[in-house]
């Protein structure tokens, strides 16, 4: 098993290095064969491991590969921890990655950076696997930043585009702000537990550790545990794009569509959610942190949903949808329903990857036109893309029987039953969010696939379904988008699925409240019409239908009526403006002032060169004394001698 695990991680890395370094010199098809095959093997082995963990009750595995550093009594290692949670993530990551690899063969067919692209996505798979399989915080941070690096490289993949290289720098820096919190959180872990090893930390918690106080000032002390949780969660806010660190994700759509599906929807952005679930024993110790998480998640879920409604770029709609859905996952974390959060992560990975790849298929057909106002009636030309995207959207809005229904229903339920202070707010957010999810999803479906054809004649004449290498992954993703929820729901809701991998305090546990609702998934779906979210979703679809299909002119009227609100929405609540004008411009301005005023004027001008000038000036004065005239010197000598004799005389007198 250990060899299998190594193979899972290293195969994508080797493939990435091979295509990255010699890719330019090999035929193009080699690049995709090498990377796709290695990821396929990884995927096969991962599913094998997941089956072993989940169904055959193989013992969880935790071991170190090598010692990264030995510092006094502390050893920092690189190693793997394989349990139900890890195995699930590994399977999801490698499966979506495999689909994206196949899809890329078609999508990037004519791109000059073909080999480079494959090298990057394989490298990403490696980095993501090291992140999820890690058994310690150090390696977690390595994977955490490595996926950030690949995301940076891929957003800026088309490096000639000014918007792309702006977006990738922005993404990296915003993530770094999150990582700042993350690193301090890790430092807190080291302070409290004296180790960075997961198992060791969890063991100490279960055996009853003593929380420390962090002195922030003479009067203020913070609970170290709360500090750790919030620090780590700030990292998650960066990676999983939670308000207010969400600004990079919409811009990341500048990257090629396959990576929007893989990195910015299915896997990397969910790393934050995974991390909190992995750390469930710590997060359980701090209700303050859990409340904080709920507020952030709820806000993201609802307010990013609003923004999805007003976008016209097909990828941006899905990007805001991703933000909103990440908010749903985070809210579940806050309610201590970690397994439900991971459940939604899994279902979302499938249907959101599907939606992105479907959007990519549309974009190719439209010759890289992304504005949905210039599309319409594509159903006629692209049957498979239409049906698969419809499936994805139905899953997203939580239609009964589809995978998203089960996971979203579970999230709304746990918010309903949570006893934390923030849960009411979160509950309202996720509930209203359901309406808006349905609204923007079906606005997209209607505008792209229904209504009249608004594209120009030239584009229209080329419209056709994408080749199999593109639609096969769509179909393969559509299957789990329908069924995965149905299969996983019973064990997740009863709390058995992640038994052992996730810890929940009894006082936070939803299991008791959920059990009453824990029916067979079939009945759950059949009873959906009795629940509020179902009707909210239907209302959303209906609203979309009215505004897009039946009365398109109502939309612009409503827009006018809601002038100021619309303005705020179109400016993304002014986050970007504030960040750019105050933080980035302010930072550079501050640097400039430090440099020009303190470094150059005071230190260099006054102190350093001032000293030099002082001595030059002094010596210039002293030089004047050396006139070269003998009588000047005699004059000074005589007076000097007189003065000296006078002093001697005076001294003798005074004894």
């Amino acid at each position: 098993m250990q060899n299998q695990l190594l193979a899972i991680v290293l195969l994508p890395l080797i493939a990435a290095l091979a295509t990255g370094f010699v890719g330019g010199k090999m035929p193009r098809h080699w690049a995709h064969w090498i990377t796709t095959l290695s990821v396929a093997i990884s995927c096969f082995l991962s599913i094998n491991i997941a089956i072993g963990q989940l169904f055959d009750e193989v013992q969880p595995l935790n071991y170190n590969l090598y010692t990264w550093a030995q510092l006094g009594g502390l050893s920092l290692n690189v190693g793997f921890m394989i349990d139900d949670l890890t195995a699930t993530m590994m399977a999801v990551v490698t499966f979506v990655s495999l689909m994206v690899h196949i899809y890329t063969i078609g999508y990037m067919k004519d791109d000059p950076g073909y080999q480079r692209f494959f090298a990057y996505i394989s490298l990403f798979t490696f980095a993501m696997l090291t992140l999820v399989m890690s058994n310690n915080f150090l390696q977690l941070f390595f994977g955490w930043e490595a996926v950030g690096l690949v995301s940076y490289l891929l957003i800026g993949f088309w490096y000639k585009k000014p918007t792309a290289i702006f977006a990738n720098l922005k993404a990296f820096l915003v993530n770094r702000v999150g990582d700042f919190g993350f690193l301090l959180g890790i430092a807190g872990v080291y302070m409290v537990f004296g180790t960075l090893d997961y198992a060791e930390v969890f063991k100490q918690i279960n055996e009853g550790y003593t929380d420390l106080l962090i002195p922030v000032s003479d009067e203020i002390f913070w609970s170290a545990t709360t500090f750790i949780c919030i620090g780590l969660f700030i990292g998650a806010m960066g990676k999983s794009a939670q308000v207010p660190l969400h600004v990079w994700l919409p811009d990341s759509m500048e990257g090629p569509t396959p990576i929007s599906a893989l990195i910015h929807a299915a896997t990397m952005v969910t790393a934050g959610v995974f991390m909190v679930a992995r750390m469930s024993p710590i997060f359980e110790q701090s209700e303050i942190a859990l409340n904080f998480i709920m507020v952030i998640g709820g806000t993201t879920a609802l307010f990013m949903g609003f923004l999805g409604v007003i976008q016209n770029d097909i990828k941006r709609i899905i990007a805001y949808s991703t933000l909103s859905q990440l908010g749903y996952m985070v809210v579940a974390l806050g309610a201590s329903a970690y397994s439900v959060a991971i459940f939604h992560l899994v279902t979302h990975a499938f249907f959101k990857a599907l939606l992105f790849l479907g959007a990519g298929s549309v974009i190719i057909a439209m010759h890289h036109e992304q504005d949905i106002r210039k599309m319409g009636n594509l159903k006629k030309y692209m049957k498979i893309t239409y049906w698969t995207m419809l499936i994805g959207s139905l899953a997203l809005i939580g239609t009964p029987f589809f995978s998203g229904f089960y996971s979203k229903e579970a999230i709304i339920e746990v918010e309903h039953f949570s006893k934390l202070t923030a849960s009411t707010y979160a509950y309202i957010c996720v509930l209203i969010g359901v309406f808006f999810t349905a609204l923007y999803s079906f606005r997209l479906i209607f505008m792209v696939f229904h209504t009249e054809e608004r594209m120009d004649e030239k584009t229209k004449s080329h419209l056709k379904e994408s080749p199999p290498v593109i639609w096969v992954p769509l179909v393969l993703l559509a299957i789990p988008s329908i069924f995965i929820g149905y299969f996983l729901a019973p064990s997740i809701m009863s709390g058995e699925y992640f038994d052992g991998a996730i810890q929940v305090l009894t006082s936070h546990s939803m299991d008791a409240s959920m059990v009453e609702h824990n029916q067979h998934p079939l009945y759950l779906a059949l009873d959906a019409y009795k629940t509020l979210p179902f009707w909210l979703a239907m209302a959303g679809v209906l609203t979309a239908y009215i505004f897009v299909v039946k009365k398109p002119d109502w939309a612009s009227k409503l827009k006018k009526a809601l002038g100021p609100i619309n303005h705020v929405l179109e400016n993304n609540y002014y986050f970007d403006k504030i960040y750019i004008n105050y933080f980035s411009a302010g930072g550079v301005g501050l640097g400039n002032r430090f440099w020009k005023w303190i470094d150059m004027a005071i230190i260099d001008g006054v102190m350093v060169n001032g000293t030099a000038r002082l001595f030059t000036g002094l010596s210039a004065q002293m030089r004047k004394m050396q006139t070269g005239y003998l009588y000047h010197y005699v004059f000074v000598m005589v007076f000097g001698l007189l003065g000296f004799l006078g002093w001697l005389y005076w001294r003798t007198l005074n004894g």
Partner: protein, 511 residues
């Protein structure tokens, strides 16, 4: 036979003799020959340093490869050399970087190439001497003599404003050294020996310690350089030729922190403890304030120079928080802080050297250091872009590169002392990424900015080799720093156990 080889003397004198040979071969006629001699000398020196590393017994803290000969008996000054786990890696680094500089300046220097190479060889020997000397006066002689070749390198082969820069560099550092000499003479008289390690076990009362502390501080802080005595560095870097910048950043700056470690911390620990807060604050200013200053630079070399100061702030931070950690009995964290400082020294040697070489590659082709003259270089130099990206990421402290290791360890251990120290130093995560990657974006990404960029050619074989070596080192110590840390560990442990204890009374001293 090999066992009896005076390996440290060879590491010092071999490059100097090599320099002595080629210095007479100026002019075009002997250019190839002198280049080869320089290359072979540097290569042999590097191999010797590796051999020393291999022979070094890293399970013990004591000094190894000891050489001790009488030199000036009347003043009890001796020619004595030895290394421990702290100085040996620095010697290997010095020898490697000298070799790299000589390879990278191959056929690149038009004016008196043999003299240029000779200066680097002399400097290599002297710098190895600084790290190997165990006699304080020998140390001082090497320390001062080393300034001369660097003075010449900047002054002869430098940019337009080279005279101002090299004078500033020389006078600034020379000024500091005077105080060092006074301190060393005082200590030598008291101990009746100039052996540095004898000085470690001297009892010195608090007031004298404080005076000695400031003497050391002036000398070493200028060299590091610490805020506010750092302004010579950007000027020197901007004017220095590529090789000069590489050695300056990669090795010379380490002399200052090495001095802290060899002299200040063990000889005057009580004064250092008393002043630790001031040192921590100065280090944090270096990290945060200088980070902002770097953000405002439009000259690439200046930017990297400021970034060097910021990264060296982690070294001084790591060294001085250890006192607080020892006082609180967080011994593991103290080890982590000092080890972090040491590994940051080595890592910064590779990264800053690599970055200055990268800028040198661009400068050789475009004759400009201004960021605004570039744009879209990646279109023409994809190979270079890859290496430059690795080094830029290492400078941003990305895990998996050596730039991460030291900073991570220092931040983790400083959190134990104070939340605020960790928070301010943690700003480097954002600042270093911001100034490095913003520069990368403006220089490398985008469409080809102008005709000069359009005419760029990618790396030559020689440049590629140099970059591969540096990239491998940066990644190796990022992914697996354990071997390097293990070499240092016994010496660091010894430092903590014996040398950072109070020197006010003889109690508690190890020997």
């Amino acid at each position: 036979m090999l066992e009896n080889l005076p390996i440290l003397s060879l590491l010092i004198w071999l490059p100097i003799i090599g320099a002595g040979v080629i210095i007479f071969g100026s002019g075009q006629k002997y250019k190839q020959l002198t280049q080869w001699i320089a290359l072979i000398t540097a290569a042999v020196t590097f191999v010797l340093s590796l051999w020393a590393l291999n022979e070094f017994d890293s399970s013990r803290y004591y000094l190894q490869f000891v050489e001790d000969k009488s030199w000036i008996d009347s003043l009890s000054i001796r020619y004595s050399l030895a290394v421990d786990g702290i100085s040996l890696p620095l010697i290997v680094l010095t020898s490697l970087m000298t070799l790299i500089v000589i390879i990278s300046s191959w056929n690149n220097i038009k004016l008196r190439a043999s003299h240029y190479l000779a200066a680097f060889l002399v400097m290599c020997g002297l710098m190895n001497g600084v790290f190997a000397a165990t006699d304080a006066i020998l140390f001082y002689v090497m320390w001062e003599a080393m300034l001369i070749p660097m003075f010449l390198i900047i002054g002869i082969w430098g940019g337009p404003n080279r005279i101002y820069a090299t004078l500033k560099f020389f006078i600034y550092t020379f000024f500091g050294s005077v105080f060092l000499l006074i301190a060393l003479i005082y200590l030598g008289n008291q101990a009746d020996s100039f052996n540095i390690f004898n000085m470690h076990s001297m009892v010195i009362d608090a007031e004298v310690q404080l005076l000695l502390f400031f003497a050391f501080l002036i000398a070493f802080a200028i060299k590091v350089p610490m805020w506010p005595v750092h302004t010579w560095l950007p000027d020197a870097h901007v004017q220095a030729p590529t090789g000069g910048s590489v050695i300056l950043a990669a090795i010379m700056l380490k002399m200052g922190t090495y001095g802290f470690l060899r002299f200040m911390l063990p000889i005057v620990p009580d004064a250092s403890l008393e002043m630790a807060n001031m040192m921590i604050v100065l280090s944090l200013i270096a990290v945060a304030y200088i980070g902002f200053v770097a953000l405002a630079q439009s000259d690439m070399k200046k930017l990297i120079a400021y970034s060097s100061i910021a990264h060296m702030g982690f070294v001084t931070l790591g060294l001085f928080i250890s006192f607080a950690l020892i006082a609180d009995n967080h011994l593991d964290a103290a080890v982590m802080g000092i080890q972090g400082a040491l590994i940051q020294m080595i890592s910064h040697g590779f990264i800053s050297g690599a970055l200055f070489l990268s800028i040198g590659v661009l400068y050789d082709r475009m004759h400009s250091r201004e960021i605004k003259d570039y744009g879209g270089v990646v279109n023409k130099m994809p190979q270079f872009a890859l290496f430059f990206m690795i080094f830029a990421m290492a400078n941003s402290g990305l895990p998996g590169t050596s730039g991460f290791v030291g900073e991570f360890m220092v931040i983790l251990s400083s959190f134990q002392v104070s939340f605020w120290i960790a928070a301010v130093s943690g700003l480097t995560l954002i600042l270093a990424a911001a100034y490095t990657l913003w520069m990368y974006k403006r220089v490398m990404f985008g469409d080809v900015a102008n005709e000069k960029v359009a005419a760029l050619e990618d790396l030559t074989m020689r440049e590629t080799i140099v970059f591969i070596v540096l990239a491998v080192m940066v990644m190796l110590f990022g992914l697996w720093p354990a071997p390097l840390l293990d070499i240092m560990a016994p010496s660091v442990q010894h430092l903590i156990d014996c040398n950072l204890v109070s020197k006010l009374t003889p109690e508690g001293m190890c020997s």
